[in-house]
Amino acid sequence: MNPLHTTEGLMQFGLRDRWYPLCPSEHVRPGQLARLDRAGEELLLWRDAAGVVHVQEDRCPHRAARLSHGVHMGDRVACNYHGVQVDAEGTVVSVPGSPGCALEGRRVLRTFPAREHGGAVFAWFGLDESAPPAPLEVPGPIAGEEWAHFLCYVEWDAPYRYSLDNLLDPMHGAFLHRNSHTMFAGKREAVFQIRATDKGFVFEKTDQRGVNFDWVELTEGGAQWVTLDIPYPDTAGPGGPFTIVAALSAISEHRHAGFFWRCRKVSGWQRDSWRFLYRNRLEARHFAVLEQDREMAEAMPADAWDRENLYQHDIALVRMRRLLRAEAAKQAARLTEPAAPAPVPVA
């Protein structure tokens, strides 16, 4: 069975009816055909002559050869095997070996709605591929002008859900990152609460805010976003806390891509100052912190979720997993339900 039609598969590769970030925009170079595996699909990414990015299945409609091994033709892609040409809508525009054959003019290449935002390429993975995508709604810190941001992109050898766990686990800041430049302060005991929001929840310490990694928000709608704040020390200069907007996408069962927009609400010369310090030294420090997370996540056993003993700090994980599993089960049921019987013709 197609793993994307099972609850377990959707937990591993990500729910459908979601926008997922695929890669930084600059990874898709003009005139080139890029191959990426994301969210359980084998994808071809390319830009047309106008620079617009397209995301399609990396599978020739003729005999399934890899289109990514083909030829970029400006507004279309030609398969290298027998020359079939497909356009950005997924329509076969030419079959050079058999002009006029029935394949010409058919829209047979799976094509995923694609957008670029915040320096990344996103695609919509719909449950029903013929239905239009939900709008791509992005969190405030990467939506507007009052914020400055840098995108940090990583690929880790760990299931994507381990990274989701990690982001929804603020308490590890005071332990794993205790020697960092940002998370040295604050109590190492805390009581947490969950507050429901429109499209997800906030998980926060009841007795501390603005001292360490003290709260995190999960938004689960047409995309899955995690937003969190980490206070900056005085040395970072004027401006708001260090805010991270994170989104993840599975590469395989064992590997995922992580997108961390490092944001700060800051304007004018203060914005320039943060951007200078960020480039000159803060990125390296933030990256060293992220490496601690990577080492932890990559070393986790594959069956981590099967034998755990959770406590109060883990209620956000429990909530998130329950949310995802319920939605995954619903989607799997819809994908496998028998097709409605053909209507009986009325005599």
Binding site: T235, G237, W269, R271, R275, R279, N280, R281
Partner: protein, 61 residues
């Protein structure tokens, strides 16, 4: 501009900020009291300081 200048400027800036000085006049005064000067060797002014930050901040995102 050599990276060593940018590093020294960053060191000074972090040190000033670390003392809790986050306002423009305070920062300019503190920088003038320390060693790092603009390329022409003159005192920092608010406008030369903010122009330098704009130059060092890189391409806008």
């Amino acid at each position: 501009m050599p990276a060593s200048y940018e590093n020294a400027f960053g060191d000074e800036l972090e040190a000033v900020y670390g003392r809790g000085v986050h306002d423009l006049p305070g920062i300019v005064a503190a920088l003038n009291a320390s060693g790092v000067r603009p390329a022409n060797g003159a005192d920092w002014t608010e406008s030369s300081f903010t122009a330098e930050l704009a130059r060092l901040s890189g391409t806008e995102n």
